[in-house]
């Protein structure tokens, strides 16, 4: 990301010749990407690809990010310091694992004619991984509770 914005950088360094060279090369790559998308529109119509590009951006930036900020704020209010980090981390990783593996535990890609595809019983597999994540979080929480600073 443009950390701090362009005004934070001295002119002629970050946005000098180096930047414009990168912009020219990157622009050519991007133009080739758009050209390829248009060229292959028979099998990957732009009208079907674009909603996924825009939709994922909006879903992430407007919905998920906002929800995470609100959830983070609520956790900060609810939990003591020693518990906050482990719970926040375990919740975030659990959410990621559940979403990442959703096509598996929802069994979307299963094909009865091809049993080697999605061969496991994924619900218990995901629960096992989640269990290990929360076990690790509990270990960190115990360690932090032991070393917490005394209450004033």
């Amino acid at each position: 990301m443009t950390t701090g914005g362009p005004e934070a950088e001295p002119r002629g360094t970050a946005h000098g010749v180096g930047f414009w060279t990168a912009a020219a090369v990157g622009g050519m790559f991007m133009a080739f990407g758009v050209h390829t998308l248009v060229r292959t529109r028979a099998v990957a119509p732009v009208g079907h690809v674009l909603p996924w590009l825009v939709g994922l951006l909006v879903l992430h930036d407007a919905v998920i990010t906002l929800a995470l900020i609100v959830a983070g704020w609520a956790l900060t209010r609810l939990l003591p310091d020693w518990l906050l980090g482990p719970v926040r981390g375990a919740l975030a990783l659990s959410l990621l694992i559940v979403v990442f593996s959703a096509p598996l535990w929802r069994r979307y890609g299963v094909d009865p004619a091809n049993p080697s595809r999605l061969p496991l019983d994924y619900a218990p597999a995901v629960l096992t991984v989640l269990g290990l994540v929360w076990l690790a979080a509990a270990a960190v929480a115990v360690q932090r509770w032991r070393t917490r600073p005394p209450l004033r």
């Binding site: 914005g5 970050a14 990157g26 991007m30 690809v49 990010t65 975030a92 091809n114 080697s116």
Partner: protein, 386 residues
Amino acid sequence: MITAATDRVADWRERRQADPRHDKRTASWLGVALGVSFTVCFLTGLASHLLQHRPSWFAWPTRPVWLFRLTQGLHVFTGIVSVPLLLAKLWSVAHQLLDPPKVRPISGLVARVSLIPLVAGSLFLLVTGVLNIDYWYPFRFFFPPAHYAVAWLTVGALVVHIGANATTVRRELGPGRGGASSRAPADVRARRRFLGFVAASSATLLITTVGETAGPLKRLALLAPRRPDVGPQGFPVNRSFAESRISPRRVDPATWRLRVHGRVAQPVELTLSQLEALPQRSAALPIACVEGWSAERTWTGVAVHDVLALAGVTGRPSAVVRSLERGSTYASSDLTADQVGDSLTLLALRVDGEVLHPDHGYPLRLIAPARPGVLQTKWLSEIEVR
């Protein structure tokens, strides 16, 4: 009331900027990690694309035999590792969405606008990539060309982004203390904890999936869509015989023939027993799928060049092998002159000593070193010499 809300948002943004999990040093570390992972994904993806749509200038060695297994494994699993990295990076800089838009300098505007294809493209690549390896297609476009085109778009935007931020990253991570981020011990600890958590998240996804290609870790592959030892004859199938819609009559050994034609001295048709009577070669070769799983097996059959010799072929021709399957993108594949001449490019009749299972291409399939699995054409019916 509106002013009060604006003030609170501005306060929140300032607090975030001062938080070591959201400062420039953290963003720089995550940016470098993503720069490396996306570069690996892009180059290995490009290799896979060129192998499947081979232009005349593109040369790909046939050794080591595991070359494609390595490059495609890097592609898929670096992509998986990038998921937590990308989400962490976006979360760490999310407050910058509130930065006021600036039209000048123009370079700043270019850098800012390029974030739109960068973020949208990165999310698109990782989401569609994961859906593809899990065989779930909720979208209405063919995955490979869309993934390929958006990869160029994203990497282009990444190059612009690197150009805009290289100085900041050098200052934050380079020798000396030129960066703006706090180095107070408590902040350093908080930053390390956050980055450690991101690394642990990437490691969790890697460990629970990589066993679909790294055999010794297969028991840990709890979130992988494949197990390298599960399937007919002990390894996975990408396209089953049922999916191919080939009539069982057409693979009956009484009627099945392999036709060799094209630029040959005399076209030949070989029965299964004639092929079995030819000198047999065995080789341990991996079958490495573009979706990331792989399995090494011992294949036995006839070298392609031995069969072409029967048709009077001399010199170094290229060839195309065709399946009994019709209407599939992968019903045929090209063999370069190097591959035709390679004694490990086999027309396989057996795997691990057993006659091929129909799902693995009975009666005859191609298996050659360092090629994508989708090009190891099954249910062969002809070879055209070019």
